[in-house]
């Protein structure tokens, strides 16, 4: 049976993990490569590298890091951040990324999804959206939660899938950082609207939050989180063991 995936996400700036992390026995590790290796050995099903670099030098550093990770880590690797053109896809795919996540770049130029899917296949194109409730409606935000694009979230995601996105990452701004659980209400609407894998992001604070996510919404395929894994508040292995105990299919 296909398993539910647990995906840690690393924010990378100028070749280092942002803020550093306290992961297992690795204190204040800032090397994305070392962290990726540790997560892979610790049971992560996939990794997301999010490039928040602004400079060209930082970008070059990022692709070096990516290539080094691909030499040492053999689980699927998704890259996001700063993906605005097909050339950006090429840049990260040639350094070992398996999937590429688009967000603001696709909002500015929705045709990017279609062009990338044609060139690299839908399985390679992940549409990620930061979503927030505004006056009772779900809206897509851009520029790191700062800008309301006015796009209605569910129809935007549906459009993205129609254009060739092979996976969806739903990041709820309303639950992000609160650590009181995923945004089940929003995720339910998304899973009913699209027929591609849906990755839930934003709000995980405990093992129980993941159990609730997968038990309540069988249509969600994966859970993504960052800080709770980085600071060892939740160990991926403990999480997956508990999922297995609760009857959720998981790779152990």
């Amino acid at each position: 049976m296909i398993t539910k995936r647990i995906i840690p996400c690393l924010d990378v700036k100028d070749g280092r993990v942002v803020k550093g992390v306290n992961f297992l026995n690795l204190k204040n590790v800032a090397s994305p490569v070392e962290l990726a290796e540790a997560y892979s050995q610790g049971g992560a099903d996939e990794l997301v590298f999010y490039d928040i670099t602004a400079s060209a030098e930082g970008r070059a550093l990022f692709t070096d890091i990516l290539a080094e990770t691909a030499r040492r880590v053999f689980i699927p690797l998704t890259v996001g951040g700063g993906i605005n053109t097909v050339n950006d896809f090429e840049r990260v795919l040639s350094c070992g990324a398996d999937k590429v996540s688009v967000n603001s770049g696709a909002i500015r130029d929705p045709g990017l999804i279609e062009r990338a899917a044609k060139l690299y296949g839908s399985q390679c194109v992940v549409l990620s959206a930061d979503i927030k409730r505004v006056d009772g409606a779900y809206r897509v935000f851009a520029k790191g939660f700062r800008e309301d694009t006015g796009l209605e979230a569910i129809s935007w995601l549906r459009r993205g899938v129609d254009m060739g996105a092979g996976e969806i990452v739903v990041n709820s701004i309303d639950t992000d950082g609160v650590k009181k659980g995923f945004d089940l209400e929003l995720l339910r609407e998304v899973t009913q609207a699209v027929n591609v894998p849906v990755i839930a992001s934003g709000g995980a604070g405990s093992i129980q939050d993941f159990i609730e996510l997968f038990k309540t919404l069988p249509g969600v395929d994966a859970g993504l989180a960052a800080s709770i894994f980085h600071y060892s508040e939740v160990s991926i292995m403990d999480l997956k063991k508990e999922m297995a105990l609760r009857g959720i299919p998981v790779r152990l």
């Binding site: 296909i2 892979s40 053999f74 689980i75 690299y120 027929n195 395929d221």
Partner: protein, 206 residues
Amino acid sequence: MIAIVDYGVGNLFSLECSFQAIGQRAVVTNDPEVIRAADRLVLPGVGAFGDAAEKLKKTGLGETVKREAAGGKPLLGICLGMQLLFENSFEFGFHAGLGLLKGSVKPISEVIPAFLKIPQIGWNALSILRPSPLFRFIRNGDYVYFVHSYHAAGCEDSLLATCDYGAPLTAAVQKANVFGCQFHPEKSGSVGLSILRAFCGEEEAC
């Protein structure tokens, strides 16, 4: 030396890295001489069957691979590369494959329940149906990473393993020196590396 056949589809960086990680020299090549000189061949591939089959034909690399496999050289097809080993495919029309294995490539939608998502993306367990040198370092039920919308059908004489996605889907095949994995061993963690090591004829698992 292992030759990863580069006929112009997909990115081969990770695959090359995975062989390096198990201490094997692998070269990504489109040179028939290098392919002839190699001890083992890997036929990779992502994307559409028709396009890939056309490229194999146009470059002449399909014929090279067939000739080497007929001569007994171990060949491993991965994902679309595995599907290309079969006689034909029904993906967007009808296309001829290399015909090294008996069977057709068909949409998984024909066999799985309608509520399941297509493509199958993620980790699924292998049901190993018979012993094979390819699986000598792994166990029945080990997890590997899949991304696919099509699978091989009518391939009973080479079927090695299936995975359960609402229905049994073809996960791995073997006939003599011709091997195929629908999943990505280069993305399947230590289990995947153990499979590659077995293909390389290594004595120990990783």
